[in-house]
């Protein structure tokens, strides 16, 4: 019984087939949506589509409202869109929050157990939505009254049947997943089947998707956090200390699960102060070490970060940014920790900041981070964000065997480095490290200003004339390294679209994909008049390399998910350059192509 409202002709459902399909589930926290969402992504992936998924969560464990956004496509794509082809509503809040995102002629799968949807009747009619009603809870109860989450498999059955796709692959996924829990498997299989059956018995409309063309069975469905974890292990991570915090936690739990297998000591610290301090200890003793956190925890690391920089101890710190300030909105994204990353900790000390732009780059940047950290003996901060940490994407298997450069390590006298001097004043500012139990290199790491041998200048030598000079030399040494990094390691932004364009959008980090899609859409509609500069190496900003990119810009607009325009200010302060316009999404949601396009329309000069 297709709802009256969808009486419109069949072509409303894209009878030539969707080449990109966007769907969202909404329900209450604790309903297991995220979990089934991952399986569904794996399923679309196995069918050969490109897939992305993203959770919408709250600081509520059960109840409240959460959702899961999934998109698949025959073409590689860069981002989610807020425009939905299909919405699965487990509860009525889902309608409040998401119905208005459904495209005209879109489909609504609707849990008919819940209170009536009279409020939305008009909207449904006016937008000519196809509505499919299923009593999910009742059907789930019929299978097993004690397992309400079976509703999820039921809904998957309905969905797959509606999309006219091959149910077999999903059965295979369930079988793999529950290979050791037969009872659960059986119930889920029944639910899946009942879902299919219920749909085909009651509805006839189908919603066709284009067949995928590529055989992509070996693709991975993987999140940004997991990519960072893999990147770290590939780089030789031996020690991870972390304190749980959204959205960085999954790095910890992922690696805790594989500690033994991957040879990484994984320790849940008592707080973030301890976590980074543990990493300092591990690094001193010769291990590549990492910690990860988000805003509140990163702030707590301020003092110790300065210690790492002052003592030239390599360490990698992941900051999965979330919406701040303070507790803010922990389950939402923001890109507002750039300035605090640059300036956190008292006094002046070097550090490096890299911001991955997509899931694959989470891996690549992590491996670079470790090499930079050890080559230059500095802390490296990876600025990721919620939209990347917990976003899943289909990724082609890639080379895990990465180049590892541990920098200068002293293991005994050489020509160049005879006596071990931990802070030998070299031309480029880089000195040798040595690890216990190396003989004849015993030294004391110290956060006080120090001489080449790491002897403190804060005690009896403080204020003596020579000390002042050594201090100046040590300052120069530390900042010489920063200049070297700027020159040798830091990349300018990447151009997407034509090299010369009338309009340029600048962005950094995780918004890259959405902006790419915007560029594509604008260029396909209006000719190649738009391009994008996306930044990923943020500090030390390679401003000389950037200049030539800015020189080519005609009109420009920057997108940053923050209030004050942090990259903009950074560019301005180095290069005296400002974009013409700016967009600062602040609702907490990932800026989607549709959102960006709508905002762009506000700037009349573009259109």
């Amino acid at each position: 019984m297709i709802s009256d409202n969808s009486s419109s002709s069949k072509d409303t459902l894209h009878n030539d087939g969707y080449d990109r399909f966007s769907l969202r589930w909404g329900g209450a926290a604790g309903d297991g949506l995220w979990y089934i969402g991952i399986l569904l992504q794996k399923y679309f992936n196995r069918l050969g589509y490109y897939v992305q998924g993203f959770p919408g969560t709250q600081s509520t464990i059960r109840g409240g409202h959460v959702w899961q956004h999934i998109e698949f496509s025959t073409q590689k794509f860069g981002s989610f869109d807020s425009q939905l082809d299909l919405l699965i509503a487990f509860n009525s809040v889902t309608l409040d929050v998401h119905l208005h995102h459904l495209k005209k002629h879109g489909c609504l799968i609707y849990n008919s157990d819940m209170k009536n949807n009279n409020d939305y009747k008009e909207d449904i009619a006016s937008r000519k939505l196809t509505v499919i009603e299923i009593p999910l809870k009742i059907l789930a109860k019929e299978i097993d009254p004690s397992t309400p989450v079976l509703a999820n498999s039921l809904a998957v059955g309905v969905l797959i049947e509606f999309l006219d796709l091959d149910i077999g692959e999903f059965i295979a996924i369930l079988k793999q997943k529950y290979s050791e829990r037969k009872e659960i498997l059986t119930k889920n299989l029944i639910a899946l089947e009942n879902g299919c059956k219920y749909f085909s018995e009651n509805y006839s409309t189908k919603c066709k998707c284009c067949n995928s063309t590529v055989e992509r069975k070996d693709q991975l469905i993987i999140s940004g956090n997991h990519m960072i974890a893999l990147g770290a292990v590939a780089s030789g991570l031996k020690f991870l200390a972390q304190y749980p915090i959204t959205p960085a936690s999954s790095i910890l739990s992922f690696l805790a699960n594989r500690a033994e297998k991957y040879g990484v000591v994984v320790r849940q610290a008592e707080d973030e102060l301890a976590a980074l301090s543990m990493c300092i200890g591990a690094s001193f003793a010769g291990a590549r070490s990492m910690t990860a956190s988000s805003g509140p925890g990163i702030s707590l690391m301020s003092e110790t970060l300065g210690y790492a920089a002052m003592t030239e101890t390599p360490v990698v710190i992941v900051n999965s940014m979330r919406a701040g300030p303070s507790t803010g909105i922990p389950t939402k994204m923001e890109q507002a920790d750039l300035m605090s990353a640059i300036y956190m900790s008292h006094g002046e000390s070097p550090r490096v900041i890299l911001a991955p732009r997509n899931v694959q780059e989470c891996f690549d940047i992590t491996t670079r981070a470790f090499n930079i950290a050890e080559r230059y003996q500095v802390p490296v901060i990876i600025l990721s964000d919620f939209a990347l940490s917990e976003r899943t994407e289909s990724v082609t298997p890639f080379n895990l065997d990465v180049n590892i450069d541990r920098g200068i390590i002293w293991e005994g006298e050489t020509k160049e480095y005879s006596k071990f001097k931990r802070y030998q004043l070299s031309d480029n500012g880089i000195s040798p490290r040595a690890f216990p139990p190396t003989k004849n290199a015993e030294y004391i790491l110290v956060g006080a200003e120090h001489d080449e041998l790491s002897h403190s200048l804060s005690g009896n030598r403080c204020g003596l004339p020579l000390s002042g000079n050594i201090r100046k030399e040590m300052f120069k040494k530390r900042f010489r390294k920063l200049e070297l990094i700027r020159e040798q390691e830091m990349n300018p932004p990447e151009i997407y679209g034509p090299i010369q364009a009338d309009h340029t959008i600048l962005c950094w980090g995780s918004t890259q994909g959405a902006v790419m899609e915007v560029i594509d859409q604008l260029n396909s509609a209006k000719g190649a008049s738009w391009n994008m500069l996306s930044f990923f190496d943020l500090f030390p900003l390679p401003y000389q390399k950037i200049q030539s990119y800015l020189d080519k810009i005609q009109n420009s607009l920057i997108i940053e998910v923050n209030y004050t325009g942090q990259l903009e200010n950074l560019l301005h302060s180095h290069l005296n350059w400002r974009p013409d316009d700016r967009i600062h999404p602040l609702s907490g949601e990932n800026p989607t192509p549709s959102y960006i396009l709508t905002e762009l329309e506000k700037f009349s000069e573009y259109f």
Binding site: G263, V265, L400, P436, P437
Partner: protein, 294 residues
């Protein structure tokens, strides 16, 4: 005692640098007792790491010949955790003051104790903030007049022994830097203990604490006798509560349980820093890694 153990280089662990402690500072006692204990037990400087926070006492590592980390204030223990957990073959010794360890760092103290991290932690407890020139410390005695308690300290002092017992430390002792020999014996036992060995060292600050002086301690300190059952936590707790001007020193409590690196899934089998880096070098199958995501 055999002559063997007497023939050791007592100065092996002494640095060339002279401490900048005040002449007569209690910390000299611990420095001497620990460097001797290490020599006697035949440790090698390159295998030992001293880790401290900030304070007069925390400059200790600079006066030793060994590796060391002079960390920020209060974070010696997590730093020690990092060192020990990537190379359990190293002998890791954390040292510091009462402000550093019982004040700002007390949280790490409790967590390191319950984890049974296999290190020795020695606190030079002078019941005052020395380096910052005489403020109250969390172990300052009630009524002690300090820079920041001109009418006398009004907060009950930390009882480090009771606290470490409550926290699950597997070796709990108190020494007195005025009795270096006795202290050295405790340190030797602590170094040989597998697990978190904690020693509260009564270590007078002759400059800022004019109450808890060597003399004051000499009048009160006594050695735990042989009847004290080191394996009985309740007896140890009772001893920690002793008042009436009597201060027992010695080993209060000692129990055997696996230390953290005995239990950790990686360190129970391997020395992490000696392992190769990356998936391939560790012989991890790429497909197996990827299969987690399919």
């Amino acid at each position: 005692m055999g002559t063997e153990s007497q023939r050791y280089d007592k100065k092996l662990f002494k640095a060339n640098l002279k401490p900048n402690w005040c002449p007569g500072c209690g910390d000299y006692g611990l420095l001497s007792a620990s460097t001797k204990a290490l020599s006697k037990l035949k440790f090698q400087p390159s295998n030992v790491v001293f880790i401290s926070g900030i304070g007069c006492s925390s400059s200790f590592p600079h006066w030793t010949n060994a590796y060391g980390i002079h960390m920020v204030h209060g974070r010696a223990l997590p730093t020690a955790t990092g060192v020990k957990m990537v190379n359990p073959e190293l002998t890791v010794i954390a040292v510091g003051g009462d402000g550093d360890g019982y004040g700002i760092g007390i949280g790490h103290f409790i967590h390191s104790a319950r984890r049974n991290l296999d290190i020795t932690y020695m606190v030079m407890n002078n019941q005052i903030y020395g380096l910052t020139m005489g403020q109250s410390s969390p172990s300052s005695q009630l009524g002690l007049v300090t820079l920041t308690a001109p009418q006398g300290v009004d907060e009950l002092p930390i009882n480090p022994l009771a606290l470490s017992l409550g926290a699950g430390a597997s070796f709990v002792a108190r020494g007195f830097s005025g009795d270096r020999k006795h202290l050295q014996v405790i340190i030797e036992k602590a170094l040989n203990h597998n697990g978190f060995s904690f020693i509260d060292v009564l270590s007078p600050c002759i400059t800022f604490n004019k109450l808890n002086t060597y003399e004051w301690f000499r009048k009160r300190v006594y050695k735990l006798d042989e009847n004290h059952d080191q394996t009985d936590i309740e007896a140890a707790f009772a001893k920690s509560q002793e008042g009436n001007g009597r201060i027992p020193i010695g080993i209060f409590y000692k129990s055997e349980r696996p230390s953290l690196h005995d239990l950790d899934p990686v360190t129970k089998n391997k020395i992490p820093v000696k392992e190769p880096l990356g998936f391939k070098a560790q012989g991890i199958d790429v497909q197996e890694v990827f299969d987690d995501f399919r």
